[in-house]
């Protein structure tokens, strides 16, 4: 019996079974195993942060001279644009006031007023080539909660997948396993990541209703169905419509508003109302 316990084959079988059980447990979102796993990775976080910081500095040096030429051109363009924007800004202020007044009279609730935004820098990317998960440097310490939406000023990035004390993992919308309920001119569609489009940073739009007259350039926003993403966050624009053999197999390629290759800083939107609920439970 003792010899059995000492044999290598037995140890191997034991380890294999244990790990299989752990895989099973960790497949449930938010399970304790994932928390332990994230805690194990925490010592790496400060180093990842340091490397990410260095990268942003060193990367700047290499592109310095290249940028000079571009900057001049860009500067002229920006000046022209600034004038335009200033004019728009005046209009906007007026419209904002008007909108606020009208909203008050209609008693509409502001979607985003329930959310608090927490800033985060991307410190690590996925180690493999299949998925698009990245690590940001804000975690439970800063109040990040699992399933919170992640955005930039341009649009939707993804949602929080796992949280650790100092960092959290974000699954981006171009990941194969991500699916977001979206809205195009009042029709609900599904926008998901696709393995063949992922490298170009594009999305695939499925379940397009037959009656929807989709055009290239149409804006895609979150629909608010599904509970993770609030309504009205910009996802991107329709880039291409591909027709399958039947009317139902029609799908579209969506170009996200966010450039995933040049992503550095993001915001996590944390639902304040949810926070209060969990706070009460703890008490």
């Amino acid at each position: 019996m003792l010899r059995l316990f000492k044999s290598k084959l037995f140890i191997l079988a034991l380890v294999t079974i244990t790990v299989l059980v752990i895989i099973g447990i960790s497949s449930r979102a938010g399970s304790a195993v994932n928390t332990v796993g994230n805690a194990l990775g925490t010592p790496l976080n400060p180093f990842q942060k340091a490397v990410a910081f260095l990268e942003s500095k060193v990367g700047g040096i290499f592109t310095y001279f290249e940028d000079m030429k571009q900057l001049k051109k860009e500067n002229d363009e920006l000046r022209a644009k600034l004038d335009e924007l200033e004019r728009d800004s005046r209009d906007l202020n007026r419209l904002r006031e008007e909108n606020k007044m009208l909203r008050e009279t209609l008693n509409l609730k502001d979607q985003f007023s329930d959310y608090e935004s927490i800033g985060g820098n991307i410190i690590a990317k996925d180690v493999g080539n299949w998925f698009n998960i990245f690590t940001i440097d804000s975690g439970t310490k800063d109040g990040v909660v699992i399933d919170s939406p992640v955005i930039t000023s341009k649009g939707l990035v993804g949602s929080v997948y796992q949280t650790g004390p100092l960092s959290s993992k974000v699954i981006s919308i171009i990941d194969v396993e991500s699916a977001v309920s979206a809205m195009v001119s009042n029709y609900i569609v599904i926008v998901r990541g696709d393995i063949t489009l992922k490298d170009q940073g594009l999305l695939r739009m499925d379940r397009i209703p037959v009656e929807l007259d989709l055009k290239v350039g149409d804006t895609v926003e979150t629909s608010g169905v599904g509970g993770i993403f609030p309504k009205g966050i910009l996802i991107g624009k329709v880039k291409e419509i591909r027709q399958g053999s039947t009317e139902l197999s029609r799908y579209a390629v969506v170009e996200p508003a966010v450039d995933f290759r040049r992503l550095r800083e993001v915001f996590v939107l944390v639902d304040k109302t949810k926070n209060i609920e969990t706070g009460n439970e703890e008490r």
Binding site: L44, G59, A124, V127, G128, W130, F131, T135, I195
Partner: protein, 171 residues
Amino acid sequence: MRRKIVAYSACLFVLGLIQSTVLDYIKVFNVKPNLLLAFVVVTALLRGNMEGAVIGFLSGLCLDVISGKLIGFYTLLCMYIGLIIGSVNKRLYRENFLIAVFFTFVATFTYEYTVYFFSIFLKGKGDLLFPLKAVILPEAVYNCVLSIPLFIIMLKLHYAFEDAGRASRKY
């Protein structure tokens, strides 16, 4: 023994750090290599199946912790890769780096296809041929190239361990 643990932990830490940060900037054909996998292959070849399996387990755990949707998947995969490659090492002239290059290629192929099969293909999100051209072959070549410097470093470590082992046996 203690020196060995320190050396391996340092390797894992540094490789894990590089894998999760800098490598994203030196992608070739939009594919990045898997340093930890190459590390497992090289270690298993030089040090045998016991150490191969242990290093495979730890490297896999490292991959799982840094990224990965499940804890344990890469762990198991890398452990078996280390174990199997470590088992053939006695039959080969292991100080030849071409052997390491060949096994890195085979291991990358197996590893990536397994990952793809279980986490993407079984969920009906892709066919079996696409990943071969787009990801697996370029990554295998990339890993092979990187396995050469890794092999040289590990060979030095291997000699150091052997010397230390011989010295400790004398006393």
